[in-house]
């Protein structure tokens, strides 16, 4: 066999030997799934770059040709979304940061510090993971509108901030809501990570004389940075993409504080019908922040997942 390899550039014998129906089947399946996931995406991008007439005349996944190519869709979608981008980030970034920090502290307290009744408290956190959003929508709007109208209290303050309007104060209760509902799942994630950290580190720090808060700040926090990456990406995506809470607390796409998820369904639809080019452009622009985040933190994400499972 080695002789035939050295003589002919194509080694037919070993090709036939390696031919294996399982392998063929496996690769066929991979190609099929690749197409299944990538074609809609590709179709979306192509549609975003086409004029309306090109969309009507060409195959959905065919690239735009000649006069069919345009950037006006993207430009229009961007101008429509600019404000809501700011709103979304204004809400999602602080909410995620606060969320991750509090969850990490809670997990530390529940995992690495021992006190009576911590299992019961952790059980409450677990229950919190499973509370369906739909079930709390009415109480939520009751609470923020009637019982504790924080948005209304903060309205004058927000009106005084340049570039913002009084209506933006509604982002504050929304942020707090996201923090509250995100803590349980993030705590569970952090807890599994802290369980994998060697207990002797905390014990060594104790013997070195560090208090519980110092142990968190100087030992546990620096060690959990990879996990912070993972949880941050996960939770940012959750909050950024969330619709129901935004819809309940901000109410509509016309509101100055409307985040991306509220604007998106309205873009490109009018009485004349749906403008697919604008729709697709808006969808891609809306997805961009999460994609950038994944790419930027990809390494840390992988590292965090590795340490968690290892």
């Amino acid at each position: 066999m080695s002789q035939s390899t050295s003589r002919s550039p194509i080694d037919v014998e070993s090709l036939v030997e390696n031919f294996n129906y399982r392998r063929v089947g496996k690769y066929a399946l991979v190609v099929l799934f690749l197409g299944f996931f990538l074609v809609p995406l590709e179709t979306g991008i192509m549609t975003a770059l086409k004029t309306n007439s090109a969309i009507a005349r060409s195959l959905p996944f065919a690239p735009p040709a000649g006069e069919g190519f345009t950037l006006t869709n993207l430009e229009y979608a961007f101008s429509q979304l600019t404000n809501s981008f700011v709103n979304s980030l204004l809400m999602a970034v602080p909410a995620t940061l606060l969320n991750v920090l509090l969850a990490s502290m809670a997990a530390y307290g529940l995992t690495m510090v021992s006190w009576r009744g911590q299992i019961a408290v952790f059980a409450l956190f677990l229950v919190g993971v499973f509370v369906p959003y739909q079930a709390v929508l009415v109480p939520l709007s009751q609470f923020w509108n009637n019982m504790f109208p924080l948005a209304r209290m903060l309205e004058p303050l927000f009106a005084a901030i340049p570039f913002l309007q009084g209506g933006h104060s509604r982002l504050v209760p929304l942020t707090i809501t996201h923090v509250a509902y995100g803590i349980p799942i993030c705590t569970v994630l952090f807890r599994s990570y802290y369980k994998s950290l060697p207990n002797s580190l905390v014990e060594a720090a104790k013997i070195d004389g560090a208090s519980i808060t110092k142990i968190y700040r100087r030992i546990v926090l620096p060690l959990s940075l990879p996990m912070f990456g993972v949880v941050f990406i996960y939770q940012f995506t959750q909050i950024y993409n969330e619709f129901l809470f935004s819809f309940t607390l901000i109410t509509g796409s016309n509101h100055p504080a409307a985040p991306v998820t509220l604007i998106l369904p309205a873009i490109g639809s009018s009485t004349e019908g749906i403008d697919f080019g604008i729709r697709m452009s808006a969808a891609f622009l809306a997805a961009l922040p999460t994609i950038i985040l994944y790419v930027a933190f990809a390494e840390q994400f992988a590292k965090g997942l590795r340490t968690e499972s290892g």
Partner: protein, 385 residues
């Protein structure tokens, strides 16, 4: 620096529904004088680590008192105890450099200025010979270097007591022997009260001023290494201390003879009458491998015939596995001889159990009823100290 005292210390782990709980440490009392080196030794799960962790403040004490210096520290938190501990896994902070690892304890437990801390850290690292590693992270260090950093972290704080939890068990054999000596020197030099936990009886014998042998949470014996070796208080200590272990044979007493399955050992009349034993009491005869003499077959009353099963030459000594002819089971016993092996597998030899070297234990309680006679006057305990 201070003396450490454990007074009837008990640790019970209680399960949620298990009322009785698991007794990990049962009524242990030991005193470690100021500057002494005590080794806690025993098999896995004997409670030695739990005892150490109670001294450190990492486990609560169920009953009894732990006293360090002149204060009872049962309810003092680990942070306030002024104790340093070296962990089996070293527990170095992976994100900190060697310098920061060692400085951490000083920063947290003293009010020294940054300059003083830097100076103290550098002194300690020089002492440990790791002053060229100050800016490395633990992950970049070898096991031996990590061990030194862990020790440096302990000594830099100049604590009242050092606690060491099997600190050498992750090192290879050669390095372990080196570190053993170095640790001893270090402890002598610093004169800090030290409690050292190990399951390795060699470490226990060579390092400690005194040994405390634990089994199943109970203290078996506290004494100098040689006391524990030559005057074991019970069968467990006799078997645990010494490598290879003491040979034991079950038997019962008939007037002045001990009858075992394999041989009948007759004692001189006075030695047995001193012991005040009842006729037919069940006893265990013990003899250390190096006390067994191998030689020609003869009819000496303490000489028996046995067959050599295996000879393991170690260079300086030979470990000879022997077996009696009429043993119902294939129990072997071991003798060690010095020099070039004079016997080989399959040989039939005479073995002598000198009466002076015989230990006798009560078969029921395991308590020593007769230990070997040592060839000096005065009480053995005095002589051994």
């Amino acid at each position: 620096m201070a003396r450490l005292e454990l007074d009837d210390v008990t640790k019970v782990y209680r399960g949620d529904d298990d009322e009785a709980g698991v007794v990990a440490v049962d009524d242990v009392s030991v005193e470690v004088p100021d500057g002494d080196f005590l080794v806690l030794v025993g098999p896995s799960g004997c409670g030695k680590s739990t005892t150490l962790r109670m001294i450190a403040g990492l486990e609560t004490v169920t009953a009894g008192e732990v006293t360090l210096g002149d204060r009872t520290i049962n309810d003092v938190s680990a942070q306030e105890r002024d104790i340093a501990m070296v962990f089996q896994s070293y527990a170095l902070y992976p994100h900190k450099t060697v310098r920061d690892n060692i400085a951490f304890g000083l920063e947290e437990s003293t009010d020294l200025s940054d300059g003083e801390i830097t100076e103290t850290v550098e002194e300690a690292t020089e002492l440990m010979g790791i002053d060229d590693l100050l800016d490395r992270k633990p992950g970049e260090l070898s096991g031996g270097q990590q061990q030194r950093v862990a020790l440096g972290r302990a000594i830099v704080r100049d604590p009242d007591a050092f606690l060491m939890d099997e600190p050498l068990s992750n090192l290879d054999a050669k390095l372990r022997a080196e570190m053993r000596t170095e640790l001893q020197h270090l402890q002598e030099q610093l004169g800090v009260t030290t409690v050292y936990v190990t399951h390795d009886q060699t470490e226990a014998m060579t390092m400690g001023d005194r040994i405390a042998v634990l089994d199943q949470g109970e203290l078996q014996q506290v004494g100098t290494p040689l006391e524990c070796y030559h005057q074991p208080s019970n069968l467990f200590v006799a078997g645990f201390i010494g490598e290879p272990s003491m040979n034991v044979f079950d038997g019962h007493l008939q007037t002045t003879e001990l009858v075992t399955d394999s041989f009948t050992y007759s004692f001189s009349a006075e030695s047995v009458s001193d012991l005040d034993l009842e006729e037919e009491s069940e006893l265990v005869l013990g003899i250390r491998p190096e006390d067994i003499e191998l030689g020609e077959r003869s009819t000496d009353e303490h000489r028996f015939e046995a067959e050599v099963v295996v000879v393991e030459p170690m260079g300086n000594e030979n470990i000879v596995h022997l077996q009696f002819d009429d043993t119902p089971t294939d129990d072997e016993f071991i003798a060690t001889t010095e020099g070039i092996p004079s016997v080989s597998s399959g040989d039939r030899v005479g073995v002598v159990f000198p009466e002076a070297a015989i230990h006798l234990f009560d078969a029921d309680t395991g308590k020593a009823v007769k230990n070997r006679r040592l060839s000096f006057t005065g009480t053995p305990a005095e002589m051994l100290q």
